[in-house]
């Protein structure tokens, strides 16, 4: 039996009871989305867990094949609706690479601003899930309140709050509206101030530490072996970030740090480390946004006109971006026609769900929602 993440020390082995089998889901408040978990319990200790997916399978990748290139954009949005812009950027960038399209500097910076705002919004959503899992109602509402400010910014520039559909081949759909950058700046200042509030109220609360420190530990070697990326692998101590390792857009010109987990309150790679890494990433995103907002170049926001009959030369490309949950890759194959031959995505949540059965074994049933929230799994990303 794998005891990764176990907290069974001191358990009396002779007190054996019959195992309880419980099928959690597909609809359950502790789950991140429609998902079925087959759990075998010894008392309240999880001894086996299997995850069954497919409840929100939309044939999303197949849909690209029957649409022309630009019609695929809204589908890319829906790979992960909580962080829509990353699917769009990965898809557009892959197509641009095949076509050899250069995007204007202003467009790259707008993409960076939207990426980092989305990262903050998505991390806030993961905090809400964690707050729900441990029953921290007030913190949850504070985070939701502040997340609205970010969504307001999306609405201001794109007209949408979640599915933005704002990227275009060669740039972005529109230039930033008047006063947008100032409002982004104000929102960053607000979030910066709120982080202190979050720390006072939640981050180092003893009850939260009791629930998250030492819970759901993912050792670095297991994280790498399972293909875990993003804050989850960084919490395990590996500073892997696509923005640093394979810089894209203008990230190579920006000064920012990659926070990693150090096991400050429990063990490296535990649920609290994952939370802290995300919280520190929010600070880094603010740092990036400020630099980008201050140095955004003038000029066009898109290098090509919209053309529904746009054709992509035969070829293929795989483009990866650093999404809020980890490495999001998009593999695009073209046969030279006006619609894709194949589009597929490599999503970070798939790996996170893959490691769940290992992490959950040995944990208590009450820890399961905490582990799920800390791994920040998007079921939409998993099923596609």
């Amino acid at each position: 039996m794998n005891t990764l993440g176990s907290n069974t020390e001191g358990r009396l082995e002779h007190l054996h009871t019959d195992f309880t089998h419980w099928e959690i889901g597909p609809y359950h408040p502790g789950l991140p989305g429609p998902l079925r978990l087959r759990v075998t319990l010894d008392g309240e200790i999880i001894v086996r867990l299997e995850a069954e997916t497919g409840y929100v399978h939309r044939g999303l990748e197949k849909n690209f094949e029957s649409r022309n290139w630009i019609q695929g954009l809204p589908y890319a949005d829906r790979v992960d609706p909580e962080a829509a812009v990353f699917g769009e950027i990965a898809y557009c960038s892959a197509v641009e690479e095949i076509c050899g399209i250069e995007i204007p500097g202003r467009a790259a910076y707008v993409r960076m601003i939207l990426s980092e705002l989305t990262r903050i919004s998505s991390h806030f959503r993961s905090f809400v899930a964690l707050a729900d899992a441990v029953g921290a109602d007030t913190f949850k509402h504070y985070v939701l309140r502040d997340r609205e400010k970010i969504l307001d910014l999306f609405e201001l520039i794109t007209g949408g709050r979640f599915a933005l559909n704002f990227m275009r081949f060669g740039g972005v759909a529109e230039d930033v509206t008047e006063g947008f950058l100032e409002r982004v700046f104000d929102a960053c200042e607000l979030v910066k101030m709120r982080i202190k509030e979050y720390n006072d109220l939640f981050s180092f609360n003893h009850a939260l530490l009791a629930r998250t420190a030492g819970t759901g530990v993912v050792p670095a070697e297991r994280a790498v072996a399972q293909g875990l990326t993003g804050p989850s692998v960084r919490a395990s101590g590996r500073a892997f970030d696509v923005r640093k390792v394979h810089p894209y857009l203008g990230y190579s010109d920006i000064d920012f740090e990659v926070p990693v987990g150090k096991g400050e309150f429990g063990r490296t790679g535990d649920a609290h480390d994952r939370y802290l890494v995300r919280l520190r990433e929010v600070s880094q995103s603010i740092r990036i946004i400020k630099q980008v907002s201050e140095s955004i170049p003038d000029g066009p926001y898109c290098s090509m006109k919209r053309d529904l009959r746009f054709k992509v030369p035969a070829g293929e490309h795989y483009f990866r971006v650093e999404g809020p949950r980890g490495l999001l890759g998009c593999h695009v194959v073209s046969d030279g026609g006006d619609h894709p031959l194949r589009v597929s995505f490599r999503t970070p949540s798939h790996a996170a769900l893959g490691i769940l059965p290992e992490v959950a074994v040995g944990a208590r049933l009450e820890d399961l929602p905490v582990i799920l929230a800390s791994l920040d799994i998007s079921v939409s990303e998993v099923d596609r």
Binding site: T138, K140, F202, R364, L365
Partner: protein, 351 residues
């Protein structure tokens, strides 16, 4: 004046009215005039206060400022029809725990007006009800025929048993101080002003009050010590109820919490004592004194409940094993320290 004399005077009954009939009237009055309005008020205040803490507006649609929200909730719950029948076993255990719980109204210490039973064991009787409540909840959960129900039931039982020990020991401290376990003993030993409350009489009594308060939250599974209703078991036993039964169940849980708050107030926070000027204002009229006592003890209890709710809103919830660890490993020893300390203090300095 005893409750019997006061009520005879209020209604002008003759002594031909049997005591049991008058006791029934008192109990009905307690529920209709105190428990139900208090539950509606506290439900609204808790939601409004919680919303304010969380930068939200809270209920504001039913009536002016949402004041009629509790009635809207009741109406909604009463209109909901059950979609699947509950088993007779569930009905049975719900009835058992409800009867056990509401039977404590006879010892509910709301002042001289409603103090029906005032025996040497009065203060221990609610614990009996809490134990039956735990037993009933455990079997109720077990008979819900679902894994969340089982876990919820077991967690309720574990929490109640672990919380009862420190709560009882903390109460013994108050008994040492006041020299008995009648509600009137506790009240007689304290005064109306905060400095004459048992809570501030010595450091060990303050410790006993803290232990009693937290243990009460454990026994009654008040957030953040409510692992038996946590998200992993999708709300536990409560999730098995809807409509009228849910309303009934919630009212029962409110009543249990109210009972605990009244106990804490009577034992530690001055009981139902009212200031001298208030007594002179009503010219020593036993009926008005009884009403004022009722208002004083209810108000203090509601303030204690709201404070607890506010605390629960901001603190993350603990796991079941962490809750029982807290009671057995922290509250239990602390209650014993309070007991020994209080005994030595009373022996050395007097009550």
């Amino acid at each position: 004046m005893t409750w019997y004399e006061i009520w005879m005077e209020i209604f002008g009954f003759t002594s031909a009215i049997p005591e049991w009939a008058l006791a029934s009237l008192v109990l009905a009055s307690v529920f209709c005039l105190v428990v139900f309005p208090a539950s509606a008020a506290i439900a609204l205040v808790e939601r409004k206060l919680g919303a304010d803490l969380q930068a939200r507006i809270g209920p504001n649609r039913a009536g002016k400022f949402g004041l009629l929200q509790p009635f809207a909730d009741i109406l909604k719950m009463m209109q909901k029809e059950p979609t699947n029948a509950q088993s007779w076993r569930e009905e049975f255990w719900l009835a058992i725990l409800t009867v056990a719980l509401y039977s404590t109204a006879a010892v509910l210490p709301l002042g001289s007006l409603t103090l029906l039973v005032n025996s040497d064991m009065s203060a221990f009787l609610p614990f009996w009800a809490f134990m039956i409540l735990a037993l009933g909840m455990m079997f109720l959960g077990y008979n819900q025929d679902s894994v969340p129900g089982w876990f919820s039931g077991i967690r309720v039982a574990a929490q109640t048993l672990s919380g009862a020990f420190p709560a009882l020991v903390a109460m013994l401290c108050a008994g040492i101080l006041s020299g008995g376990y009648r509600w009137t003993d506790f009240a007689a030993h304290q005064g109306a002003g905060p400095f004459s409350w048992a809570l501030f009489s010595n450091p060990f009594m303050f410790l006993a009050f803290v232990v009693f308060t937290i243990s009460g939250m454990v026994i009654l599974a008040v957030h953040p010590l409510d692992s038996c209703f946590s998200i992993d078991i999708r709300g536990g036993i409560a999730a098995g109820f809807y409509g009228r039964r849910l309303g009934f169940f919630r009212l029962g849980r409110f009543y249990a919490f109210f009972l605990w708050a009244v106990m804490a107030v009577v034992i530690f926070c001055g009981g139902w004592n009212i200031p001298e000027f208030a007594k002179s204002a009503v010219e020593g009229d036993g009926r008005w004194i009884g009403v004022l006592e009722l208002v004083v003890v209810t108000s203090k209890s509601l303030i204690l409940m709201i404070s607890t709710f506010a605390l629960g809103r901001v603190i993350p919830g603990l796991r079941a094993d962490q809750v029982t660890d807290l009671t057995w490993k922290v509250l239990g020893p602390l209650s014993l320290v309070a007991l020994i300390g209080c005994a030595l203090w009373v022996g050395g300095f007097g009550a």
